[in-house]
């Protein structure tokens, strides 16, 4: 059954089986592959998107519950916090392989939008759901603070 989802400000019609997680609707149905699959059980954060501004794991989120919600992905996230995060991420070469970084950036952007000057402890709490096997954690922590000073 076709449903209309509002993704990055655009209405997208998707025809996916009921219960299909948003992650796979984005990746397989809409070919928006910036949002990544990491664990499928909301443990790693690679699939983080914003639902009405809140960082949310899309791998366990049925897409059919999202009609009327504002869905934002790495391809579309914008605003002062996102701009500052991207700028600092690039200037400091924060990512390594980059695979988890869509989720990291979505989580960090949501954190900055909510808290304009996070402490180390705030950052650790907000970001601890996002695993990075390359271990860019120290770089991310430094970069969020740097972005906070600019946003």
């Amino acid at each position: 059954m076709a449903r209309t989802l509002k993704i990055n400000g655009k209405d997208e019609t998707v025809d996916a089986a009921p219960g299909t997680p948003l992650l796979w609707v984005l990746r397989d149905h809409l070919k928006m592959t910036g949002t990544k699959f990491g664990c499928g059980v909301a443990q790693c954060g690679a699939c983080t998107v914003h639902i009405d501004g809140a960082p949310t794991r899309s791998c366990v989120l049925p897409h059919d519950s999202l009609e009327g919600s504002e869905i934002t992905t790495i391809e579309g996230v914008e605003g002062p916090a996102a701009d500052a995060i991207r700028e600092v991420w690039v200037e400091n070469d924060v990512p390594q392989c980059g695979y988890c970084q869509s989720g990291q950036i979505m989580a960090a952007t949501a954190l900055l939008a909510e808290n304009s000057s996070p402490t180390d402890a705030d950052i650790d709490t907000a970001m601890s759901g996002n695993i990075c096997r390359c271990a860019t954690y120290m770089s991310i922590r430094r970069a969020i603070k740097e972005a906070a000073s600019r946003a």
């Binding site: 990544k36 690679a46 790495i74 991207r86 991420w89 990512p95 392989c97 988890c100 950052i123």
Partner: protein, 794 residues
């Protein structure tokens, strides 16, 4: 002048550096100078901004160089023929072919830095073409921390040769002596006037000139380097921050269907019967395909099972859940990793096979004033890159094309050719970006699966491994048991040292029943031990493999450095000495040595011992440096301790100091880490520092939590809750890295930070608490704190 006679230079070149204004040299065929046959242009990046192009499937129409015409096919490291690596287009774009796989180590950037420096390219015009898997590039196995080491010289030669040809082309055009012309930042200028010619203008003409021989090429001096040893920004990261770039799991082909595979629980288990009735009722399901059973030895073959094909990944996963499969046990069904670990410890208590010997350990021990011994155990580990294995395959007639996140597209191509019994010439393998690898993706079993399934289905197929698949069906880091013994004299000085190591070798994956640790694995931290005591013996004991055993970032160095560097600290404690001072005494005076002189067969990471000797002075130097950085010996709060470890691996020397803080209830935190690395010439210090951080945390994550166990031959863990990894909050607040500046030959960067991490931490915990940890993991998947024996708590 032959240029004008050839009619390709219709007019006078423009003066000045205005790129594109030198349009007077026209009709330059783009293809005449294009290199690489890079079949898959996965990203085109300009520094400071980002753009993205779809895979350029026509790129194989590029002309390939005629190897017979190049005097540079056999330089150190391989073929340095410029056109194999560099293509300069009319608009000045410099396309550099990267034949190594990008997995976060920033190899796109480092390879480009090397070429572009000698080429004197304008960095803003550099783009990367990712090479397909092909012998013409030489070794493409992005493993062993050797991309820079293998390619540093030949890529400099390639860049310098092309710079020389561009300069000569300008000289011909200006009718000057080439010595009067010089190249910088994509332009050639001359000493007579202010004219310049851009590389884009000169490319076609330069392509017609003879390639200089190696002895005619002048490489730049290190103080002339523009990009090498500079913190050049990554070429991939601008794309990453917008969700662009193509990882293996992101590949899309027209008409593609999606597959997951239900694999036997144990290695060499088999499908007995399968009922897919319920599976086929799942919306979006298309079909199932029974895969052929795997047979020993494992090699890189898929493990068999049932492939589930659907219109999207989620439907395939649901379809797999609905399969009813009866599995038949294989020969490994009785494997219990815990009891096997006990058996390995017993083996380590018996005399083993001598792999290196100096002096006489028995008499040394007999004469000792004090003897100590210790046993260490480390479990199996999973590489678990954030991107699980994924591959896409498409057949067109008898031709196969594969896109996959593989560390070695050549091995992938050869393995598919062997297992599917097809001609390699009919196979194209494209390496995508790798979302981490850590050794897992040097095993192309998942790409073979895609090729097999696509053939059955008759459509392009993407095979995705779920996290459960990755954790349960991997190529695991060996579990190991080790025993060390030492004899100390009356002054506490070590006079006799015995190290016995027992682990199933990686060779067990390739040769059924192989149980003896290989020289290669013994040379990763056991037979190359740098200690100077008069009596020393290194032994191995056999252990059979029951899981697929494979490489994991720094491989056997992990457990060997854990045991040897822990034991060094145990000796220091027994002698009543400071860990760092005792470690320096064990290493002894600055010297070079060859383990081969004491009976070892020592591969030295495939490098000659003359080019890359083991230099104990460099070890001691990084020990002193890291200790200084950490302010070794400072007063610490109650419950804090500093620990140190040093290790040479992948030809690099790294010392790590860790501060551990242990609260009375056993809660462990890591306030700081200080690391000094001597890796010879470092191409990109910023990215090298990132690898030092990443390699250390990878080692700490494994040491703290990592444990793969098997019951009835099947891996118990399945996903991040039970296979635990380190998270943001556990990462240290302070992490300082110092790179020893050096112009000596480049060594490894991606792996060597991992080995010293675990022993530096356990040595720090000992200094914080008095509790010695000899069994990993330190905390485990379910733990939250150290279990400190009451009597040992400081």
């Amino acid at each position: 002048m032959f240029l004008r006679n050839m009619g390709i230079i219709p007019g006078k070149a423009q003066s000045g550096a205005d790129e594109g204004s030198g349009a007077s040299i026209t009709n330059l065929s783009r293809r005449s100078f294009v290199a690489g046959s890079g079949l898959f242009v996965i990203g085109v990046t300009l520094a400071g901004c980002s753009s993205y192009v779809e895979p350029d499937v026509d790129a194989n129409a590029f002309d390939l160089p005629d190897p017979g015409a190049s005097p540079l096919t056999q330089v150190a490291g391989g073929d340095a023929t410029p056109a194999l690596w560099i293509a300069i287009e009319e608009d000045g774009t410099v396309k550099i072919t990267c034949h190594r796989s990008e997995m976060g180590q920033q190899v796109w950037t480092s390879m480009a830095q090397i070429v572009a420096d000698e080429l004197e390219a304008d960095w803003d015009k550099v783009q990367i073409v990712q090479a397909e898997g092909h012998e013409r590039y030489g070794d493409q196995n992005t493993d062993g921390s050797r991309s820079v080491r293998y390619n540093f010289h030949r890529l400099r030669i390639a860049g310098a040769a092309m710079r020389s040809m561009l300069t000569e082309a300008a000289a011909l055009f200006w009718e000057m002596n080439p010595a009067e012309c010089s190249a910088a930042e994509g332009l050639v200028s001359n000493s007579q006037n202010s004219d310049t010619l851009s590389y884009g203008n000169l490319a076609e003409l330069a392509a017609r000139l003879e390639i200089p021989a190696e002895d005619e090429i002048n490489l730049k001096e290190p103080d002339e380097w523009r990009f090498i040893n500079k913190e050049i920004p990554s070429l991939t990261i601008p794309l990453i921050t917008r969700g662009q770039g193509t990882f293996g799991i992101d590949v899309d082909r027209p008409g593609m269907v999606y597959a997951v595979v239900a694999r036997p629980p144990q290695v060499f288990g088999r499908v007995g019967s399968v009922d897919d009735t319920a599976a086929l009722e799942v919306p979006g399901m298309l079909q199932t395909v029974r895969l052929r059973d795997a047979k020993p030895p494992a090699l890189f073959q898929p493990m068999g099972g049932v492939a589930v094909i659907a219109r999207n990944t989620w439907a395939a996963i649901q379809g797999r859940n609905a399969l009813d499969i009866e599995w038949i046990d294989g020969p490994n069904a009785r494997y219990e990793s815990v009891s096997f670990g006990e058996a390995m410890k017993r083996t380590a208590r018996r005399p083993g096979t001598v792999r290196r010997e100096r002096g006489n350990v028995q008499t040394g021990m007999a004469d000792a004033a004090q003897r100590i011994e210790a046993e260490y155990y480390a479990p199996h580990l999973s590489q678990s890159p954030m991107e699980p294995p994924s591959a896409t395959a498409q057949w067109t007639g008898d031709k196969l094309e594969v896109w996959a996140c593989v560390q070695d597209p050549q091995t992938t191509r050869q393995t598919i050719a062997d297992l599917l019994e097809i001609d390699k010439e009919n196979i194209t393998v494209n390496a995508t970006w790798l979302g981490g690898a850590f050794g897992r993706k040097s095993k192309p079993d998942f790409a073979v699966e895609a090729a097999l399934i696509a053939k059955e289905v008759g459509k392009p197929v993407k095979v995705t491994w779920t996290r459960e698949d990755e954790v349960r069906h991997g190529f695991y880091h060996s579990a190991s048991a080790q025993r060390l013994e030492a004899g100390l004299d009356e002054d506490g000085k070590c006079t006799s040292y015995l190290h016995r190591t027992v682990f199933p070798p990686i060779a067990s994956t390739f040769s059924d029943g192989m149980a003896t640790p290989t020289d290669g694995e013994m040379g990763l931290g056991a037979t190359d031990v740098p200690f100077a005591m008069p009596n020393l013996r290194v032994e191995s004991g056999d252990a059979k493999g029951h899981l697929r055993i494979g490489w994991l970032r720094s491989v056997s160095n992990i457990y060997h450095a854990f045991a040897v560097q822990s034991f060094a600290a145990e000796m220091a404690h027994a002698a009543g000495r400071d860990q760092k001072e005792y470690l320096l005494e064990l290493i002894g005076k600055a010297r070079t040595f060859d383990p081969g002189d004491e009976g070892a067969t020592y591969p030295n990471y495939d490098a000659s011992i003359e080019d890359y000797p083991i230099e104990t002075g460099r070890l001691s130097n990084v020990v002193e440096k890291a200790a200084d950085m950490a302010r070794w010996g400072r007063n610490l709060p109650e419950g804090h301790g500093l620990g140190i470890a040093v290790h040479r691996s992948f030809l690099s020397y790294i010392a790590t100091v860790i501060e551990a803080a242990v609260s009375p209830d056993g809660t462990l935190t890591i306030p700081g880490i200080w690391l000094a690395v001597d890796a010879g010439t470092v191409v990109n210090p910023r990215h090298a520092r990132a690898q030092m951080e990443g390699g250390t945390i990878y080692g700490l994550s494994n040491a703290l939590y990592g444990e793969i166990t098997a019951r009835n031959g099947a891996v118990v863990q399945d996903n991040f809750p039970s296979w635990r990894v380190m998270r943001m909050g556990e990462a240290p607040r302070e992490f300082d890295v110092e790179i020893i500046q050096s112009n000596t030959r480049p060594a490894g960067i991606g792996e060597p930070a991992t080995p010293p991490a675990a022993p530096a931490l356990t040595n720090a915990i000992f200094n914080a608490t008095g509790h010695r940890i000899r069994t990993l993991p330190i905390i485990g998947a379910r733990g939250s704190r150290l279990s400190l024996p009451e009597t040992e708590t400081a």
